[in-house]
């Protein structure tokens, strides 16, 4: 029990109650911290992680009802289980606590057996919610998970200004035919690990992974200051890391790996598409199509990163850009100005 003990915060303005609850909680194998009123509790919750709150109602400065309301309004604390421990009179007060999101109500003086059961069940709920959040983050990136937590899930999109990055491994089909499936998966895992690192450290999210191709968005669901610069920096970071990996492979007598990336910037429609049962966060629009075309064109133009005019306009002066003239792409009525960027910006 001591090993899976929880971190509990006891909020009570009465010293005897704080001592007694702490003792009871510690005897159950948990760690107890104490706060004298709601305001102090909220300050502690902002700086330390807790698994469960034991909350009194009658308190000076900020009472238990106000604490429950403040927790509800704070996305990071919304799921923290709260057990109200009070000798407050009247059924309506207990009902009000539950309506405000309290997990449970324990009358004071707190019965030891009931306390044990309620605390275990509260901690188990917290564990499940944490696990759920972790799963969501694994499959949906932390930005999308945060967006879901804050705004809830709704099919539908909104127009945002963003940069879209498409990237794939050059000659991946030939590469995968020459190697064992295990070796191919190994290469993909390294590639994905480096991509996620480069993209998320520059404020983007990966929205699509198909084989060796991936798509990332910068500017949705959370806005970034300069989507174009972020997307280009991510592509350059990724190329640098992949070329280190490629050099290692070549030194071991294996085939080198090259990437191609296309970046376009403009308005996209971003949101959840699919059904209520299965949906994905995605972006659509001509900006997305253009980024995909640019990525394909890197093979023809024999360069590694190609960007459109809108992306170029957003870049800082110290990024060296080489104009590549105009290209007509399938699905685009007018020719498009494109530029290439060195993978590493020296």
């Amino acid at each position: 029990m001591a090993n899976d003990g929880g971190r509990l915060l006891i909020v009570d303005d009465n010293k005897v109650n704080r001592l007694l609850l702490s003792r009871n909680v510690e005897l159950l194998g948990h760690r107890a911290s104490v706060a004298e009123n709601g305001r102090i509790a909220m300050e502690m919750l902002a700086t330390e992680p807790f698994d469960l709150l034991l909350l009194d109602i009658e308190m000076p400065e900020m009472d238990g009802f106000e604490v429950l309301e403040a927790l509800k309004a704070e996305p990071a604390l919304r799921d923290l289980p709260v057990i109200v421990t009070s000798s407050v009179e009247g059924l309506d007060n207990i009902v009000r606590c539950i309506e405000l999101g309290a997990e449970d109500y324990l009358p004071k003086p707190v019965n030891k057996v009931l306390l044990k059961a309620r605390v275990s069940s509260g901690l188990e709920k917290k564990r499940l919610r944490d696990e759920q959040k972790e799963l969501l983050r694994r499959f949906a990136t932390s930005e999308v998970a945060q967006d879901l937590e804050e705004s809830g899930f709704a099919i539908g999109g909104q127009r945002v200004y963003a940069s879209v990055l498409f990237c794939d491994i050059r000659g991946f089909t030939a590469l995968s035919e020459d190697q064992s499936p295990e070796a191919v998966i190994e290469v993909l895992n390294v590639y994905y690990a480096l991509s996620f690192e480069a993209i998320s450290s520059n404020g983007g999210i990966v929205t699509l992974m198909i084989g060796d191709g991936l798509m990332a968005v910068f500017g949705a669901p959370q806005a970034v200051e300069n989507p174009a610069q972020s997307a280009v920096s991510a592509a350059q970071n990724l190329m640098e890391m992949m070329s280190d990996f490629s050099r290692e492979r070549v030194a071991n007598g294996e085939a080198g790996i090259r990437l191609g990336a296309g970046i376009a910037t403009g308005e996209v429609v971003a949101g959840y598409a699919g059904t209520d049962q299965r949906a994905t966060y995605t972006c659509i629009g001509t900006t997305v199509n253009l980024a995909a075309r640019l990525e394909t064109h890197t093979k023809t133009a024999d360069c590694e990163i190609l960007i459109d005019e809108e992306t170029r306009a957003g870049l800082s002066d110290d990024v060296s850009v080489r104009p590549m003239g105009q290209v007509s792409f399938k699905g685009f009525s007018a020719p498009v100005d494109i530029s290439s960027i060195n993978p590493a910006d020296e």
Partner: protein
């Protein structure tokens, strides 16, 4: 209702032995001694607060002070003290409720001190 002439009996009436014994069993006798000492430290302040609130006719503060006394009295099984505090919390003051509370606190604290001493 309570007899003041017999020390032992006063203790028995003032503190519910079952509640007190259960508390000792659940949390340890040493801890309960510490808890009683804390209560005896804190209670005079709570009672002064109650009197002050009564003088100022601050109903909310009166209710909160009575609530705290009730809550702590219940911890030690001081049922009579808890009951008068509860009546003040719910119904406010009547003519002699403060006097009854003071008397009950005197009995309760004496009984608790007796427990600490022996």
């Amino acid at each position: 209702m309570f007899r003041n002439d017999d020390g032992t009996r006063m203790t028995n009436n003032t503190i519910d032995q079952a509640v007190y014994g259960e508390l000792e069993e659940a949390t340890g006798a040493d801890f309960v001694a510490e808890l009683v000492a804390t209560f005896l430290d804190e209670a005079p302040g709570m009672i002064a607060d109650l009197h002050d609130a009564a003088t100022q006719q601050d109903d909310d503060r009166l209710r909160r002070a009575a609530h705290s006394i009730k809550s702590n009295a219940n911890v030690f099984g001081a049922a009579a003290l808890a009951e008068i505090a509860r009546r003040i919390e719910l119904d406010g003051l009547d003519a002699d409720s403060l006097k009854i509370l003071d008397t009950e606190y005197a009995r309760t604290s004496a009984a608790l001190k007796a427990k600490l001493d022996g």
